[in-house]
Amino acid sequence: MTIKFTAMNKQHIIGVFNEENELLSAIRRVKENGTEIAEIYTPYPIHEAIEAMGKKSRFSFAAFLFGFAGASGVLLFLMYTAVWDWPINYGGKPTNAFPSFIIVTIVLTILTITLASLFTFSVRAKVYPGKKFVMPDHRSMDDKFVIVFFAGSDTENEKLTNLLNEEGATEVYNKELQPLI
């Protein structure tokens, strides 16, 4: 199969695989060659593919910060309202009944972490209502494992196409895509 590629920014080479292990061995070979992968689309999370893209998530650290902010914010609010602003005598109990503030603090901290993390997820992964998205191959959320490359010179493209075919790609085609975000 010889495909004439024109070297343009929007031109992409798309390899479609039926099996996860074929995709992974293709990724390994492409990485050895030093070719840059634009993006990989899979029907479910595949750790090796995520690692191959060299991405790391700092979610747990962000969640810790949200939790810290949430916990101190809630505690301060409880102290302000119940102790400083308008102390009320409930059956002679101390107004600064610190241990009983802990329960509300724990629950609201969890709520803060959840809502803030979901918001962060939406911002960082760019997943939000009404988003305009680019999906190189519409079967990739069903049963296809799709790998996308930036098109290069004709010889490079042919080499890449051959490599993908050797690794068991069912289809290799080029397509003009809006910049992948």
């Binding site: 899979t42 999370p45 090796e48 998530s57 309202t81 629950v107 959840t114 939000y128």
Partner: protein, 460 residues
């Protein structure tokens, strides 16, 4: 690591990825079946009865109920705790099994979480309306007001309860929704209907399945799983402090928080079993919800049943051993014997004895038997809440204020209404949402089916 040679395959029928999407999305594409319409009609009728009951309660007042000065908490709090208990399973199921990397959860977690969201919604109605003047319910929010500002009492377990349940509802609903986003994208990309493409496309939030999205999706699900596990334990512990921090005999015990949490997970898992057997039967999901899945739930149920039995025995033992005559009276004269002996023994038999039948492999694998036992557990857990609330309140320290309690038709209507709401909610879920987490099932397919390449999936 899941060993298929020991536990059998988790997905039967030699499926490929495309078949998994097709099978699970099928109920959404097919026309609405007759049984669905009939069940929806009945549940809407029940809901209507509930709406009439709520209307009467709100317009006339709590006087329409059978509660009185002694038994101030009747069916409403019984049903509230019962629903919250059922609502516990979904998140418990997803979260604990997610943290423990249990692959068998993937076929069940979606339905369990759906059940949670609807059940917690039903539960929240009861205390809200029990306040009496629901149009003043916003008083419970700590907001700057013109009455001082008079802030709420943070030492009150009733306020903790309000915070816990609102947070639980919000968090379980978002966790559930977040898990559905990739599956909505699958529907969006497959459907030929323009309406479905637009609607599911909107709810899919532009999901594409790129590594950038999956990376954050996975990290977020573990973060949420980790912190929501704390929430699951805390919510029902807080519900138990509504009772345990009072000085009523039978309530004032330190066993209450773990006892309530375990009881909630017990009733929730039983409801998961009931629901999964129904889903499997009606939608022919035997290949996804296999005997092995139901077997695992049955084993958990038999274990929790032993804990429940131990808790009942501990309560009775302490009532005698503490030497408190009030505790002794409550347990020995007003529960084990006396006016409410039937309710007590119904609780013990349904929760501690009947589930022991699950020790037998024959019964575990007989779906009809498992279904009936799961229903018995839910009835038993309802009686447990009846026992705790009504027996302790009906005969307290002053014999002159002893009284009995019977629900009125309005209270029964309120309960029937929430049952209708629950069934209607679950039916909508059957029809419009993929009942099984498609992407998660695809993720475990190769690792849990014999004859596939295990090595490449060793990233667990």
């Amino acid at each position: 690591m899941y060993k298929t040679e020991v536990r059998g395959s988790l997905i039967h029928g030699n499926k490929n990825y495309h078949q998994i999407s097709t099978d699970i999305i099928a109920p959404i594409d097919q026309p609405i079946p007759l049984w669905w319409k009939a069940a929806m009609g009945i549940s809407l009728l029940a809901l209507l009865y509930g709406i009439v009951a709520i209307y009467l309660t709100v317009t006339v007042g709590i006087g329409t109920w059978g509660v009185n000065n002694s038994v101030a908490w009747g069916w409403e709090i019984i049903n509230f705790v019962w629903w919250i208990g059922i609502g516990h399973a979904g998140t418990a199921f997803s979260i604990f099994l997610l943290i423990l990397r249990q692959k068998w959860r993937t076929s069940i977690n979606r339905a369990a979480e759906a059940m949670t969201v609807v059940a917690v919604g039903c539960a929240a109605l009861f205390p809200a309306i029990h306040m009496g003047r629901i149009w003043l319910a916003f008083f419970i929010f700590p907001y700057p007001n013109t009455r001082g500002p008079l802030w709420v009492n943070y030492n009150s377990p009733l306020f903790w309860d309000f915070i816990a349940i609102s947070a639980y509802l919000l968090i379980s609903a978002s966790f559930w929704y977040f898990g559905m986003v990739p599956d909505f994208a699958t529907i969006r990309d497959r459907t030929k209907s323009k309406v479905k493409k637009a609607v599911y496309g909107f709810f899919a939030f532009g999901w594409t399945g790129s590594t950038k999205e999956w990376l954050r999706y996975e990290s977020l699900s573990y973060v949420l799983g980790g912190i929501a596990a704390v929430l699951v334990v805390s919510v029902h512990s807080i519900v138990s402090t509504d009772f345990a921090s009072s000085v009523i005999p039978g309530w004032h015990t330190t066993i209450f928080p773990p006892y309530f949490v375990v009881g909630a997970i017990f009733s929730g898992f039983a409801m998961v079993m009931t629901l999964m057997i129904i889903i499997r039967k009606l939608y022919k999901f035997q290949d996804y919800v296999t005997d092995s899945h139901l077997n695992a739930i049955a084993k958990i149920l038999v274990f929790i049943s032993l804990i429940m039995g131990t808790a009942y025995a501990t309560e009775i033992f302490i009532a005698w051993y503490s030497g408190s005559q009030y505790e002794f009276f409550t347990f020995f004269n007003n529960r084990i014997t006396g006016d409410y002996a039937f309710e007590f023994w119904a609780m013990v038999i349904c929760n501690a004895f009947i589930p022991q039948l699950f020790w037998s492999k024959k019964i575990r694998s007989n779906l009809t038997a498992a279904f009936i036992i799961s229903i018995f557990i839910n009835i038993g857990m309802w009686y447990e809440r009846f026992n705790i609330i009504v027996t302790s309140l009906s005969k307290d320290y002053l014999p002159s204020s002893w009284t009995t309690y019977h629900p009125t038709w309005v209270e029964i209507g309120f309960y029937v209404g929430t049952l209708g709401m629950f069934v209607a909610g679950v039916l909508l879920f059957f029809k419009y949402i993929p009942m099984i987490a498609i992407s998660e099932v695809k993720g475990i397919l190769k690792a849990t089916t014999p004859g596939n390449d295990h090595k490449i999936h060793s990233h667990e």
